[in-house]
């Protein structure tokens, strides 16, 4: 086999030293995830609620204003956006698994960590790169469609007072989407770092969620102490809507009064995130790059 088909040329370019070092990891991860056909279908499926809400919005905008019995559901108010994001949160549970279950354990199996860490990347860069993949997908089904809905509303029926009154919804959307995305991403990344197989991380993820939920429900029904509901991770996540959307959250159809306390919930989730981060850091740090 001839070796020197093309000789080695010196590269005259320069390496970028500024900027986000881990961005190629994000790009590669996104590309690889989209390669799976079933995922693409799922991703499109996640946008269906966006279509439904967009249609609601359009109809609501076209219906004459003075109809007194304008159905509640045609109104575009903060709880409209909150409801949309609430629905998307359910999809996030699955999106997280799909895009994140084998992010780190896949690298263990193929020893790819050695390749990453021998490049000018710190462990933190690697972690952020991987994290950003899941965050990207989660945000793609929350922030992006939600903001689009907002813009759509403004475009179809520009109403200055409505705009000024509801401007706060934008940071609320950003806040809740980021919060939920980051929490889920850290969690799945942590599981991916401590398991060896994507099957294990998937199963563990579901078991933890279902288990904490089950225990919380059971104990609550036995003791009727509100704080017990905070044992459930998913309860805590949903309760965040109370923080970002305030009283408007109450208008979300599934948001019951028996919701877990949002501030306890937030605190628990913050602790969860911190723990996940340290576990990931420790596990990645333990990989011996050169043996």
């Amino acid at each position: 086999m001839p070796i020197f088909e093309q000789t080695y040329r010196k590269w005259e370019g320069t390496l970028r030293t500024a900027g986000i070092r881990w961005f190629p990891i994000t790009k590669m991860g996104i590309k690889q995830t989209f390669k799976k056909k079933r995922f693409l279908l799922f991703f499109i499926g996640c946008q269906v609620p966006f279509l439904v809400f967009a249609i609601r919005l359009i109809i609501g905008a076209l219906v004459p204003e003075n109809m007194e019995n304008t159905a509640e559901f045609l109104q575009v108010n903060p709880s409209f956006f909150a409801h949309f994001l609430w629905i998307q949160t359910t999809f996030i549970f699955i999106m997280t698994i799909w895009s994140g279950a084998n992010l780190i354990n896949g690298d263990y199996q193929s020893n790819a960590l050695q390749l990453y860490l021998s490049k000018p990347l710190t462990q933190l860069d690697y972690i952020l790169g991987k994290l950003s993949i899941v965050v990207f997908f989660n945000l793609a089904i929350t922030i992006v469609p939600a903001i689009l809905l907002f813009i759509l509303r403004v475009l179809i029926k520009y109403d200055k007072s409505w705009f000024v009154q509801n401007l706060w919804v934008i940071p609320a959307i950003l806040g809740i989407s980021l919060a939920i995305s980051v929490i889920h991403s850290l969690f799945i990344l942590c599981l991916s770092a401590i398991t060896t197989n994507s099957r294990f991380s998937t199963i563990t993820y579901f078991i933890i969620l279902v288990f904490t939920d089950g225990v919380a429900d059971l104990l609550y029904h036995l003791r009727r102490v509100g704080a017990l509901l905070n044992i459930s991770i998913s309860n805590n996540i949903y309760s965040l809507f109370g923080i970002f959307f305030g009283k408007h959250a109450a208008k979300i159809p599934d948001y019951s009064e028996n919701m877990a306390d949002p501030y306890y919930g937030a605190a628990i989730l913050i602790v969860l995130c911190i723990c996940c981060y340290f576990v990931i850091k420790k596990r990645v740090g333990r990989i011996e790059v050169i043996q």
Binding site: I3, P24, L115, Q291
Partner: protein, 310 residues
């Protein structure tokens, strides 16, 4: 100086994996040798920043390992010993990805990736997914990944591992090309001493955390002027007898002879004796110590006994 260490010490608890190592590695191809557990791996890890040193200093291309780690990694290409790859993508994508991770612009990385893959002999396989590659191909793509960002230094860890004779040979040719024609500084770590002899001009040998041998191979291998190695075909025993009659000392190892010519006896004498005994001389050269001999001597010198590390 390419790599320089100054009393570098790395401790794992009580064990001194590197013990006040003063090492200078210059340009060209240098072999890094040593038995398992000698500290080679620790040295590489420390230079690349995965291991903190406990005492002493070290620098790569003049950059201190303590605070210029990222810069060092930009200018060093590391080829790992173990099998490693990114699953699910083609060879070109993987090498281009590695270029991007070093900070190359996407298009630059892609273009370079194609070039490098041809250079290492994977031109035709570059669109295939990496997990379908054979062992030899996996070694080549690791080399490609280390070359894509055109580093000044290449750290090659057992580069011919698991390759069959043909691939093995080609890899050594590639590395020699990189070291001698492309001005790359190569640090060649291998247990295959024949490979090191073939490619490197200098060696550094570590044992038990200390630097034992350092210098250029030619000088290290020199033996006295009057010793020759021969391989002959024909009536070998008669030939040896005749040599001994002329006061030559002869040692045999299968069909290889090592002959000590007595003082004032010219080399011609050997030919004359071969002519008389009608013996063919298939190989003749000034005797040199083999790298293996140098290695064993160095490792033995510690306690006179080999099993120190095992």
């Amino acid at each position: 100086m390419i790599i320089e260490t100054n009393e570098l010490t790395v401790k794992y608890g009580e064990l001194r994996a590197l013990d006040t190592v003063d090492l200078i590695i210059g340009e060209g191809a240098v072999g890094l040798l040593g038995p398992n557990g000698a500290g080679k791996t620790t040295l590489l890890r420390t230079l690349l920043g995965f291991q903190k040193s406990d005492e002493g200093k070290a620098s790569v291309l003049g950059l201190d390992i303590k605070d210029k780690q990222m810069e060092i990694r930009r200018r060093v290409g590391y080829m790992p010993e173990m099998d490693c790859f990114i699953p699910g993508i083609s060879g070109v994508s993987m090498v281009s990805y590695m270029g991007q991770l070093c900070g190359m612009h996407r298009l630059d990385a892609l273009q370079r990736s194609h070039e490098i893959l041809f250079y290492v002999g994977l031109g035709e396989a570059r669109y295939r997914e990496v997990q379908t590659y054979s062992t030899g191909m996996k070694q080549r793509i690791k080399l490609a990944g280390a070359l894509v960002h055109d580093p000044e230094i290449l750290l090659l860890d057992e580069p011919t591992n698991g390759m069959d004779p043909e691939g093995h040979e080609e890899m050594l040719v590639l590395i020699s090309d990189l070291a001698y024609k492309r001005n790359k500084n190569v640090l060649f770590c291998s247990h295959l001493l024949q490979d090191v002899e073939r490619v490197c001009k200098d060696i550094r040998l570590l044992n038990e955390g200390k630097l034992r041998v350092s210098g250029d191979l030619k000088t290290l291998k020199q033996e006295a002027e009057n010793i020759y190695r021969l391989r002959v075909k024909g009536d070998v025993l008669a030939f040896i007898e005749a040599l001994k009659l002329k006061h030559c000392r002869v040692e045999t190892d299968k069909d290889n002879l090592k002959v000590w010519l007595p003082e004032k006896t010219p080399l011609k004498r050997i030919f004359e004796i071969a002519y008389q005994r009608k013996v063919q001389i298939r190989h003749l050269s000034r005797s040199e110590k083999s790298l293996e001999e140098i290695f064993m001597e160095a490792v033995r010198n510690n306690n006179g006994d080999l099993d120190a590390n095992l």
